[in-house]
């Protein structure tokens, strides 16, 4: 597709010449680099509660962000009005970060090569509401039908279609159409008026609506949520202290996101404030661990054709056989440190400054049989599902909270335990990985990552792994 046939030229009449002029305005005060990020976001959500579809909403948000870089300084302004006067005004405000005569000669933009990791013909946002509302109704029915002890169910369906256009003073001109959809289900179960327990499940991706009809149905997520709530009815107090922990495959990959991912973002390392700063080439995990961040996996929630700075995303090796290989770079960090860009510059919206972020972060499969991993543990904890996590990148301490976990006694998974937080230290925790399963699984497409007030969708994945030592925050 030619630029002239893409969304912004068609809808708003924006031309290459306009973009070049805006960039020239942004650089008029002597900035070394400038970029423009146009965004048109349509989104909708539908939710059901008590078997009543109580809420349905849709909306549009559009705007343009202008960034100017001068040395280590960044100027940023945005406008939610795409008229030329307002864009030029934003460009002038952003330009103020620099002081002096213009140094960049004329900008000329070149359309970049295109690929499509999410060839979605009709985005879910573009389908009939009557079809989408069925997803939450089916989820509600399925969760309630799963077991008589389920007394409450909620489901929420979200979708969005983001049209973006990036033009940079380096000459990059790229655009993308980014569909995204997700279905979340929560179930509450109770036994004879006792304490209720909650279970959660959800998933989606950059997919067509048919994904929820053929691949991962509302019934699939509803059954998972209901099953988790029912399992937790029998939970005993979680243990406290250091022990062997086995993580199940898939979403428990959030361990990697918290323990190493954030600490490897280049902004923290350039500033020397990460526990991983200056450790490239050092051993930060056991030899069994190879950790990848890959923004190019088809249809995944964390994938992007180009990052939010117009650079193609890539498959970046973060840790290879336990050795730290590199950081996730954005434009600013790679300009300042000379490192190659990794396609990791992301932002929440046109109103936000991009920074290095993860896409889909996972550990490569090993050779162990998952059943053998469980059998190898005399006493420990098995965690197949988690809630959220958080990290202090400076000390390296991170936590993630088990949503479903079980005791392992004499090599067998036995009783479920109540929710507990697991805590460890980033550069140390993965050194205790002693077995890696052959069952790598990516999560189902539910992750949202927050950093400095900006949220972006991400994915994680991991095979079954055994960690010989980790602190479990229970009470028993």
């Amino acid at each position: 597709m030619l630029f002239s046939e893409s969304f912004f030229p068609q809808r708003f009449g924006i031309t290459t010449r306009d973009l070049e002029n805006y960039l020239a305005e942004a650089l008029a005060q002597g900035g070394a680099y400038a970029d423009l990020y146009f965004e048109y976001l349509s989104s909708s959500s539908i939710s059901i509660d008590e078997s009543i579809v109580k809420s349905a909403s849709q909306g549009v948000s559009l705007g343009v962000g202008v960034r100017v870089i001068a040395g280590e300084r960044t100027g940023y302004a945005y406008s939610d009005d795409l008229s030329p006067e307002k864009i030029r005004k934003a460009a002038r405000v952003a330009a103020c970060i620099a002081a002096g005569p213009a140094t960049v000669e004329k900008v000329s933009l070149h359309e970049s090569g295109r690929r499509n990791l999410y060839p979605v013909l009709t985005a879910p946002t573009e389908t009939a509401f009557a079809e989408r509302v069925e997803l939450v109704k089916r989820a509600d029915r399925a969760a309630r039908a799963y077991d008589a002890r389920v007394f409450q169910a909620q489901a929420t369906y979200f979708d969005s279609l983001r049209q973006v256009l990036v033009a940079t003073s380096d000459g990059v001109l790229s655009w993308d159409r980014q569909p995204l959809a997700r279905l979340n289900v929560a179930a509450l179960a109770r036994l004879n008026g006792g304490t209720p327990q909650r279970g959660h499940a959800g998933g989606g991706g950059r997919v067509e609506l048919s994904f929820f009809l053929n691949d991962k149905t509302p019934e699939h997520f509803a059954a998972q949520a209901a099953r988790e709530a029912i399992v937790m009815l029998d939970a005993v107090d979680a243990p406290a202290g250091e022990m062997t922990v086995v993580l199940g495959p898939g979403w428990p990959g959030i361990l990697l996101h918290e323990a190493v991912g954030h600490g490897l973002e280049a902004d923290f390392n350039r500033k020397g404030v990460s526990a991983f700063s200056g450790r490239v080439g050092q051993q930060v995990a056991s030899r069994l661990c190879t950790v990848i961040d890959d923004g190019t996996i088809a249809n995944r929630r964390g994938s992007l054709n180009v990052d939010d700075e117009g650079h193609p995303t890539g498959r970046n090796v973060l840790i290879e056989n336990g050795i730290l290989r590199g950081y996730l770079q954005d434009k600013l960090s790679s300009r300042l440190t000379g490192a190659a860009e990794t396609g990791s510059g992301r932002r929440e919206s046109y109103a936000h400054i991009p920074m290095p972020r993860m896409t889909n972060t996972f550990m490569l499969a090993g050779e162990s049989d998952p059943a053998e991993i469980i059998r190898s543990v005399p006493k420990g904890l098995y965690c197949p599902d988690f809630g959220g996590g958080q990290v202090d990148i400076t000390s390296g301490n991170f936590v993630f909270s088990a949503a479903e976990s079980y005791l392992i006694e004499d090599g067998r998974v036995t009783r479920p335990v109540r929710n507990a937080t697991l805590i460890g230290n980033g550069p140390e925790a993965l050194k205790y990985v002693s077995m890696v399963g052959n069952d790598l699984k990516l999560d189902e497409g539910i992750g949202m990552c927050g950093k400095e007030g900006q949220s972006v969708p991400v994915g994680v994945g991991i095979p079954t792994i055994r960690i010989d030592r980790m602190t479990v925050g229970g009470t028993a």
Binding site: E50, I52, Q390
Partner: protein, 450 residues
């Protein structure tokens, strides 16, 4: 943009919705101007400045709801939003409890609530940068172990909020906010730590001195150096005000009307019962002039008010909007809160724990072995069951004194037990946000470590 008639626009949007077939409608319009300056190692790192505005509409057709929002306030943009909301009412289910507040509930409290201070507008950029620079500089100079910095930031926000509905309510208010924060990084041997401190106010004149912000941030950071992991054990736990506030956040989630009617709170059905130590009184008050949780009306056009949530340990009230109140057969407490899209949720006004009598030093002095918690991380709180397990950082209390820093541990218990076990409440209540708590001491929790 102060010249724009957003009240007129909100009323017009409501009118268009009724003309298009809605039986009721409510519209929010908000505009805001934001500015931020970040300084790192005494140099400007980022400057950001912009303004934005958007509108949201919720309509009813009988007992069916639909909602839409847009940042395109042109005639076409607004018409598209109205059509979208009407269209969505076709797919929602009839809900007998859906609807606007009764006319008698609508209104706005009068008097100057101190939400807007004009001194935030028009501050010279150089002055704003200098505020950040002074705070960071004070931190960098405070101790030789402060070797690095994640910067300092000065931010301002000025906004206008407009709300109108088809029952005749139309109101608006302006608000302003400014804040200054800094994040020093300290190093000693292999140990590297960060912490932060900040000041925030409705007006520029209300900010604390940048030098004080930097000095406190530095002291908080340096005292974390050399932190160790302790043995797993059960001990008294003291929450300093910054972490005590997170317990208030948990209490808020547990008295939230939505969690109550769905039976997903450990406090559901406990109205009138003793749920906490007699020393605990929790109040939500959206009417206190100058504070961050203050407003003349909530996001459904109902006046804000003072609600006693917990009084001397007894649960007195949930926090409710119109919908959750109807579900529970109660009256709204004026706590409706929403963004632009969807139905109103529940939000807090100024939610705080009444101050106790003990100075924090006295609370610590009475503990032989215990844990003084200065930071909590993670999301390990289950409001349904009350199970509590979070990552914690702080100082170990030995012999009544803060003895050494501790990290990479968890604290765990259950919220129902923790509330009953509140043994001391400090006298050091201070409003630094819309939730505020003094130092709190819980008789016993499990510290998970080695």
């Amino acid at each position: 943009m102060t010249g724009n008639d957003y009240s007129g626009l909100a009323v017009e949007i409501v009118r268009q919705a009724l003309a298009a077939g809605a039986t009721d409608a409510e519209c929010t319009v908000s505009e805001g101007d934001e500015f931020s300056a970040n300084v790192r190692l005494r140099e400007v790192e980022t400057l950001k400045e912009a303004g934005s505005r958007a509108a949201g509409l919720r309509i009813l057709r009988g007992r069916h709801t639909g909602s839409a929002y847009t940042s395109d306030l042109s005639g076409d943009g607004v018409r598209h939003m109205v059509r979208s909301a009407i269209e969505l009412a076709d797919i929602t289910t009839e809900d007998p409890h859906a609807g606007l507040p009764d006319s008698g509930e609508l209104g706005s409290i009068s008097g100057d609530l101190g939400m807007f201070c004009g001194d935030v507008e028009g501050l010279p950029t150089e002055l704003k940068i200098d505020m950040a620079r002074r705070a960071e500089d004070a931190a960098l100079r405070a101790d030789p172990r402060i070797t690095n910095s994640d910067g300092a930031s000065f931010e301002t926000h000025v906004g206008r909020h407009v709300f109108a509905n088809s029952r005749g309510f139309a109101g608006e208010y302006r608000s302003s906010y400014c804040s200054l924060s800094t994040v020093p990084v300290a190093r000693e041997g292999e140990s590297m730590e960060r912490d932060y401190w900040y000041t925030a106010s409705r007006g520029f004149a209300g900010l604390e001195k940048p030098e004080d912000v930097g000095r406190i941030a530095a002291a908080r950071t340096v005292r974390r150096l050399g932190a160790r992991k302790v043995e797993t054990q059960k001990v008294p736990v003291v929450f300093e005000p910054r972490t005590a506030r997170s317990l208030l956040d948990n209490i808020f989630d547990a008295v939230h009307g939505g969690a109550i009617y769905r039976n997903e709170s450990f406090l559901a059905g406990k109205l009138g019962e003793r749920v906490a130590s007699e020393s605990l009184t929790v109040i939500d008050d959206g009417t206190i002039p100058g504070l961050f949780g203050t407003s003349p009306f909530d996001d459904e056009g109902v006046p804000t008010r003072r609600t006693v949530v917990i009084e001397k340990g007894v649960l007195k009230s949930y926090l409710l909007n119109t919908y959750t109140a109807r579900k529970l057969g109660l009256r709204t407490t004026g706590n409706a809160s929403r963004g632009l899209a969807g139905n109103a949720g529940v939000g807090n006004g100024n939610l705080y724990i009444e101050r106790g009598v003990a100075p924090p030093e006295q609370i610590i002095a009475g503990i032989r072995d215990g844990f003084y918690v200065t930071e909590l991380i993670g999301f390990g709180v289950n409001i349904v069951t009350g199970d509590y397990s979070r990552g914690a950082v702080g100082l170990w209390i030995r012999g009544g004194e803060l003895a050494f820093p501790v990290s990479e541990v968890t604290i765990a218990g259950t919220l129902p037990r923790m509330l009953m076990d509140l043994e001391a409440i400090g006298s050091d209540l201070e409003f630094r946000g819309s939730m505020a708590a003094p130092t709190l001491m819980v008789r016993e929790m499990t510290v998970g470590g080695k």
